[in-house]
């Protein structure tokens, strides 16, 4: 556990030692605000809730999270520090998990900084704060899943641009897994069971159901499993590179 904490501390601090953190947080807050008020018709809807705010999170994350995750491993490989990191007396798991947790915490900080919106909606009316809390939780879990995917992709390459693009594409497919764009492709050759399974992988479906304020164990498990599987894959990829 000590190893995880050491890696976590170093990683999180490094976000704030570079412009990455500030650029990310400012852009995230600006875009989420702009989407909420201009596209989401926050006022015009006449309802005291944060639905228009959370609706855009999947699409914001689609581009912003890969921008955070692309550097997780690719940068270390490019600069050679991965050699330093993996010859320290820490286990592969501690490194993979420590890095992921740092990135996740960083996104959580950005998410927490959207609190003025919550204050606003509470000032204007009396929203269901349980639903808002559930939506924040769902949003954070979804960000974690995006991050875990990005971590795995970043481990496969030393090129951050490649990591970014591949992560966006995979996240996009998973977002839309429940929609005709993706399902029609599989319907052409896969049996109905497989198509249903793929539809069940959709980020949007699970995020939307948490956002209704019903924290269903299945949705939680879905995101936690998604994170665990992709982090496991990250460790496998790094091990493969070691033996390659």
């Amino acid at each position: 556990m000590n190893g995880t904490r050491t890696i976590f501390k170093r990683e999180l601090r490094s976000y704030f030692a570079t412009p990455v953190a500030y650029v990310f947080i400012v852009i995230f807050l600006l875009l989420s605000g702009a989407f909420t008020f201009y596209i989401g018709d926050f006022y015009e809807r006449g309802q005291a809730d944060l639905q228009p705010f959370f609706n855009f999170h999947p699409w914001l994350y689609l581009f912003l999270v890969p921008a955070v995750s692309m550097r997780l491993w690719a940068e270390e490989r490019k600069s050679g520090t991965i050699e330093l990191l993996l010859t320290l007396p820490v286990t592969m798991w501690q490194v993979v998990f420590g890095k992921f947790l740092a990135a996740w915490t960083f996104i959580a900080i950005a998410l927490v900084l959207t609190f003025p919106l919550w204050l606003t909606v509470n000032y204007l009316g009396s929203p269901d704060n349980g639903v808002i809390f559930a939506s924040y939780l769902g949003s954070l879990l979804m960000a974690g899943a995006f991050l875990a995917i990005g971590s795995c992709i970043s481990a496969t390459t030393r090129n951050q641009v490649v990591a970014f693009i591949l992560t966006v594409v995979i996240c996009f497919l998973l977002l839309l897994a429940g929609f005709p764009l993706v399902l029609d492709f599989f319907r052409a050759f896969a049996p109905q069971g497989v198509v249903d399974a793929i539809a069940g992988l959709s980020f949007l479906t699970h995020f939307a159901s948490i956002g209704k304020g019903v924290i269903d164990l299945r949705d939680l498990i879905y995101f936690v499993l998604m994170i665990a599987v992709w982090l496991y894959a990250t460790a496998v990829v790094i091990d493969m590179k070691k033996a390659a």
């Binding site: 050491t6 050679g80 330093l84 010859t87 320290l88 007396p89």
Partner: protein, 313 residues
Amino acid sequence: MIETRQITKRYGDLVAVDGISFKVESGQVLGFLGPNGAGKSTTMKIVAGFLAPTSGSATVAGFDVETQPLQAKRALGYLPEGAPSYGEMNVREFLNFIADARELRGDARDQRIDDVVGRLHLEAVLEQPIDTLSKGFKRRVGLAGAILHDPKVLILDEPTDGLDPNQKQEVRTLINSMARDKTIIISTHLLEEVHAVCTRAIIIANGRILADATPAELEARSRYHQAVSLTATSVQAAKEALARVADIAAIEVDPQDNRITAFPKPGRSIFVAVGDALKAQGVVVRELALEAGRLDEVFRTITLGAVGPEART
């Protein structure tokens, strides 16, 4: 102690390391020599536990690097090629990070950090981001990280690369001062470094060990070993005098500075005979020297493959 048994590393069809076995004891400083791409760094990466060998095994301080990686890594200090470090951190943060990862605590921790900062003269740059440091300082920061936990075993991949002559000298002094109770492997392109710090040298080319000997033994393989070189006012007179010495196998004159080198027949010593012959002929000699042997020449002969069977181990 470091021991490798028949380690081999293949990348597809390319064999980077081909059955390398060696054993280094405590108190030894082993120099890895070899052309670029010879397999030096790959071998070091395998021993450090960063790469897994295709076959064979390596132990560090008695721990197998693959089956007991944590114990092996605890005993080891490793400076990777190019001395990578986190550029956005300042030197103090970087050393603190290494100390955390090495689980150094309390007074021992402060003492170790002070010690390496002092030894590598990092006091003035402690608060500076590593990205803004010169190449020499970056290398020293990397070295400081590698020796921070006072490891029993040290592997340094080109520790003096990018340092100026004074800094090189300091790092060599540092390695010498640590050598007594540690097992150290360094890789280098600089043959004078082998002289300055190594008690033993291994020459690697194409992934194989071509020679494993002390620097003095390697020099003895040079054709300059026991040769006599001199400069005289009259090259012609000196050559004539040397022609009378029976044990001389060949005489060469450097066309640039007219330096004459006389090579002895195998196993013969000619220094005294040369001196006598020159004196007898009344040749005025400005300088006369006995050559120890030239490592660069030995290195070239061995790595270019023009070696007799006795050079292979």
